[in-house]
Subunit: 211 residues, 2 copies
């Protein structure tokens, strides 16, 4: 009886409708995961028939992988943006580790973990996952190489170390997804670990402003 039911959706331009669908998919994925991305689910949020969602997408696999890419790429760029405001490589690596472990992005972490699994049966998604991992690795590698140049770090294979740090951060975040308790000072411990990997002095990467 309320005004919730709308007889027919207002007619919009394809670009506008496509944007609505993309946004709805993003929200649903962040709230309930990539698995919750169904035609009917998205259609309901946009306030539209399920057929229309299908009309704007080649198939669901594509929608899932593009939604994944949207969410994850935005995060990468956001964090990369924060990095550029820090003066040197030590400060940047420190911020990177600290920021990625602050538990404010657990929804994105959940998407990552889900994508790793879903990629087994969705080749489009798998390719997208590899692309986005490369993007993250690039960010780390840049910082490590910079530190090598300034002498703050001492690393033979910057690419490998960057992969390694990325893997560690991913693992710790995934862990936080399941277990939040029992782990104290994650940033400090990881900082020490990274110090060990890049050959920096012990304590040089530990954030000064505490946890």
């Amino acid at each position: 009886m309320s005004s919730t039911q709308q007889k027919r959706a207002v007619r919009k331009s394809p670009a506008e409708r496509a944007a609505e669908i993309t946004e709805a998919a993003r929200e649903i994925a962040l709230e309930a995961g990539l698995t919750a991305l169904t035609l009917r689910n998205i259609a309901a949020r946009v306030g539209v028939a399920s057929g229309l969602v299908a009309h704007y997408q080649p198939n669901m696999d594509a929608l899932v992988s593009s939604t994944f890419a949207n969410i994850v790429a935005a995060e990468t760029q956001e964090v990369a943006g924060l990095l550029s405001q820090r003066p040197g490589p030590s400060e940047r690596l420190s911020l990177l580790v600290e920021t990625l472990l602050d538990n404010s992005r657990l929804d994105v972490t959940a998407i990552w973990v889900e994508a790793w699994t879903l990629g087994r049966r969705n080749e489009t998604l798998a390719a997208s996952v590899r692309d986005q991992m490369d993007a993250w690795q690039n960010v780390f590698q840049g910082v490590v190489e910079e530190g090598n140049a300034t002498g703050a770090f001492n690393v033979t294979d910057a690419a490998a170390v960057a992969w390694q740090i990325l893997g560690m951060v991913d693992g710790l975040n995934a862990q936080a997804l399941v277990r939040w308790d029992g782990v104290n000072d994650r940033g400090t411990h990881l900082a020490h670990a990274v110090e060990g990997m890049v050959g920096a002095a012990r304590g040089s990467l530990v954030s000064k402003q505490g946890a």
Copy 2:
């Protein structure tokens, strides 16, 4: 035409049939993931009607989580068994890191990653995941504490460090699931990272027998 089709399954004792189902579930999960654990899928492998599988299980959520626990607990015990053959904490931690990164258990890693996601919608599984993570953490913590006692390591919070190492190993394994290339000397890098965390001398945990 061929002898592939069997009109009716031979009658077996409940214990025996239940064991068959458990084993079939284990195989399917390792080959195609926990998502592939369906009544019909398992029934087909056992050579039995789908109803019979349901008959031996309260519901699918329980079957999925018990299958997860079976697979993962077996791995934990296997690796823990290997550990006990090593003389001291440094050798044990070294073996632990080395063993878990040798890519011979990627199927189990895939199950872990899948369980992290599935646990969001299967509370029974989520509880099982937490239990099994605790078991792993226990293994690590034991080694760290031992190293603390002998003076090989210098760690304030052994529990936290154990969680941290576990998270790193998980992350690196999950990464290997998606990307096997580009990362060289994972064991060496992680060894250095762990050295940084436990306060061991640089190189003290790097395996002598190379990668």
